[in-house]
């Protein structure tokens, strides 16, 4: 019975793809326009994933199934074989569980959200493809299958971001996401080639074993290969400076954002780092400080951007980027378990927040928080679940986010990245601040939109509630030093791997550190509440933050009370504005400039080099032949006596040659 689920785990990789094809074929004719197929596939998957998850908790599951799809030749005596298959271990089971469970809830929610929208069957088909690709990715036993899933996720996101393709802006957003990812994928592909050829196999197990055993051929290329793989991970996980595609990706329907940010797409990079963790742990150590630095820039810099966004989805998007920075920093610093645990808790509360935002958008028909406010009473379920998600994200004890963030801080401290640890604590402050702002502007104060908002239908609120539960309690599975009787803890589940690695596990809660984290979060909430909490009936409260003058604080008479907060708010505002400005006018402009330049280069290469240069040579040759013919044919005058004269002249010339020269 138990082995049955392990042996057939591959069904999870196949079902969503089958669903994709079935919806394309018959979706239109079904009652829910194909949603039932998509949900059915993921429901079956969830059963499998849950069984495996529970099995792994209690006894540990480790299995792999592969079959050869190609034998392509030899490199340095090693026969290179491509395989597909699936690996079932602690890491992949966790991802299976996450993707399927969150995916299922988002799919159910989408039935309500997409009701009456255009192309519903296509939406669910592409959605199934999205989930299926991610499952192929996380179940991959080797880099080849990972790349297949990786690009499949990219394709599905392209299709879903550009879902409303009548508007070319959405298409451009999709193109941007695809191309930015493609740039990073070059790193993934080259890194995969370099690492795999050194080891002689694309198989993760072989690579990890080689890394642990310090294989000579691998150690020389490990840093380069590791950094290239990291480049790929940066693209998918939207690390600075590849984060630019993510905010634009909000062009898709909100359930897409929820799935993309929680479980399916952006976590792929972190997952890749975790999958190849032994490589970084044992050989590519010189690469790690760089990776930590990237993660730190991302977690703090991108968090600031969330402070000034008006679009609620963009606030959440920047928040995701920032949280991915936490995960990346943790994994890069050596905290494999900490990073993955944050990925796990984050998946729940971020999906919850996006779905909550979706419910709000569904109610007020606008993405902008300046059209919201005071929705607490009209949308009670949404409000309370959103609040739980926000507090969890902010890192308030005892919600899930606190435990995972605390573990990251502990890891950073333990590995000696003290400065980064303080950045992470500052990041926690920023996180709490912007989430408070989002909650306050959306749910408190008075309503500023049009019409009368209504709570979302049951099909949408039930997933919210179901997601709020793990957002609150998921953290208890990884209290430092605590191993629950019979089921152990998260670190132990995750440690069920073919190659075990020694990352750091804290023995107990470091209260000083945890206290700093909580303090930062509370300070952020307090400041946020002070600025945004009391709705002042006007736009001034909002604008006051966005205009880099302390105007609103002087205006209302709380400046004494708000002094501390005012200074912080006053400096944070411009800093955030500056970061935002840099983002739009430097990094993004650079990307656009690259695109324009490439386009211009294309015109130059085609117009000047190809048509004038290369083809010009061809035309020149033929024109020269043509011209020579035109010139020479004039000699044929048709006058017989001219011919005779040339004949005689020729004979005379010959006579001269023979008589005088020889």
């Amino acid at each position: 019975m138990t082995t049955f689920f392990v042996d057939t785990a591959g069904i999870m990789l196949v079902l969503p793809l089958v669903a994709f094809l079935m919806i394309m074929a018959v979706g239109k004719r079904m009652k829910l326009q194909g949603a039932e197929i998509a949900i059915g596939a993921l429901a079956i998957n969830t059963v499998w994933a849950t069984v495996l998850f529970v099995m792994n908790m209690t006894e540990g599951v480790l299995a792999r199934t592969t079959f050869e799809i190609a034998r392509i030749g030899t490199v340095a005596g090693n026969e290179i074989v491509f395989e597909l298959g699936w690996v079932v271990d602690g890491l992949s089971i966790m991802m299976f569980f996450l993707v399927n469970l969150v995916g299922l809830l988002v799919f159910i929610y989408a039935v309500g959200y997409m009701h009456g929208d255009v192309r519903v069957p296509w939406f669910f088909a592409a959605f199934s493809l999205f989930a299926g690709s991610m499952l192929i990715l996380v179940g991959a036993p080797n880099l080849i299958q990972l790349i297949i899933g990786w690009e499949g996720v990219g394709l599905a996101s392209y299709l879903l971001i550009g879902f409303y393709w009548e508007d070319l802006d959405n298409v451009r957003a999709g193109n941007k996401a695809f191309l930015v990812n493609k740039v990073a994928d070059v790193g993934l592909i080259l890194g995969a080639i370099i690492v795999a050829l050194a080891v002689g196999s694309f198989d993760f197990q072989a690579i990890n074993v080689a890394a642990v055993e310090h294989l000579e051929a691998l150690s020389t290329v490990a840093v380069v290969g590791g950094l290239l793989l990291f480049l790929g991970a940066m693209g998918k996980s939207a690390q600075f400076p590849f984060h630019i595609w993510l905010p634009d990706a909000m062009a898709g329907p909100t359930p897409v954002s929820a799935l993309m940010h929680a479980a399916t797409m952006v976590t792929a990079g972190v997952y890749l780092m975790a999958r190849t963790f032994p490589l970084y742990q044992s050989l590519a150590e010189e690469a790690r400080p760089w990776m930590v630095a990237i993660g730190a820039i991302t977690l703090f810099g991108m968090g600031l951007l969330a402070l000034v966004a008006d679009d609620i989805k963009k606030v959440l998007a920047y928040s995701t980027v920032s949280q991915l920075g936490y995960m990346m920093t943790a994994v890069a610093a050596g905290g494999y378990t900490a990073g993955m645990f944050h990925l796990y808790t984050h998946a729940f509360f971020k999906a919850l927040l996006f779905l909550g935002a979706g419910a709000v958008i569904h109610a007020v028909h606008s993405n902008n928080m300046s059209d919201m406010g005071g929705l607490r009473k009209d949308l009670p379920v949404t409000y309370w679940t959103f609040l739980i998600g926000s507090l969890s994200l902010a890192g308030i004890i005892p919600l899930a986010g606190f435990w995972s963030k605390d573990e990251i801080l502990a890891t950073l401290g333990h590995e000696g990245y003290t400065a980064v640890m303080w950045i992470a604590i500052a990041g926690a402050f920023v996180t709490a601040f912007y989430m408070t702002r989002a909650v306050a502007l959306t749910f408190h104060g008075t309503y500023k939109g049009h019409g009368h908002p209504h709570e979302a239908p049951r099909v949408m609120t039930v997933p919210l509630v179901l997601l709020a539960i793990p957002s609150a309690i998921a953290g208890f599975f990884s209290i430092p030093g605590v191993s629950l009787p019979g089921i152990g803890n998260f670190g132990e589940w995750l440690a069920v791997r073919e190659v075990t690695m020694g990352d750091h596990h804290a023995e107990g809660i470091q209260w000083a550190l945890a206290g700093s984290g909580i303090f930062a979060a509370l300070a952020g909430i307090a400041l946020g509440w002070m600025i945004f909490g009391k709705d002042r009936e006007t736009q001034q409260a909002r604008d006051g933050f966005e205009v880099p003058v302390l105007y609103p604080l002087l205006r209302n008479k709380y400046y004494m009370d708000d002094l501390a907060g005012g200074v912080v708010g006053g400096t944070m505002g411009p800093v955030a504005q500056f970061v935002n400005w840099t983002n739009t006018y430097v990094i993004d402009a650079l990307v656009n400039a690259v695109a324009l330049l490439t386009k211009g280069l294309g015109s130059f290469v085609y117009g000047t080099i190809d048509q004038r240069g290369v083809d010009g040579v061809v035309h020149g040759l033929s024109a020269a032949t043509d011209g020579a013919g035109s010139a020479l044919r004039k000699m044929q005058s048709g006058r017989v006596q001219q011919y005779a004269a040339s004949f005689v002249g020729g004979v005379l010339a010959l006579i001269i040659v023979f008589v005088f020269v020889t």
Binding site: S637, G638, Q641, A644
Partner: protein, 101 residues
């Protein structure tokens, strides 16, 4: 030795022929010039034959050949000239630049 005088005569005749071929415009006269050149060759052949005295009388045999071919050639040539004259009312070589690009 009497060879040089013959050769000088033949050369003079040949030169006359070339002159006529190149400058006369009348087709009949051009044909006659060609005949002059052929006969210059004939004189050369006979003259060399009389010096070399080959057992097969090659010079005389070739002379007869040339005379025969020249007769045939003049026959066809005059026929063409007559046809051209009938069709175009002219025997001027300059009017006949049809065969060109």
């Amino acid at each position: 030795m009497l060879l040089n005088q013959f050769l000088i005569l033949a050369a003079a005749l040949f030169a006359l022929g070339i002159y006529g071929l190149l400058v006369r415009r009348n087709l009949v006269l051009i044909l006659l010039s060609v005949e002059l050149m052929l006969n210059a060759v004939n004189i050369n052949l006979i003259a060399f034959e009389s010096v070399l005295r080959s057992s097969l009388a090659v010079g005389q045999v070739f002379t007869i050949f040339v005379i025969t071919v020249a007769a045939a050639e003049v026959g066809i040539g005059l026929a063409i000239v007559i046809m051209i004259f009938r069709n175009r009312r002219s025997a001027n070589a300059d009017d006949l630049s049809l065969m060109r690009w």
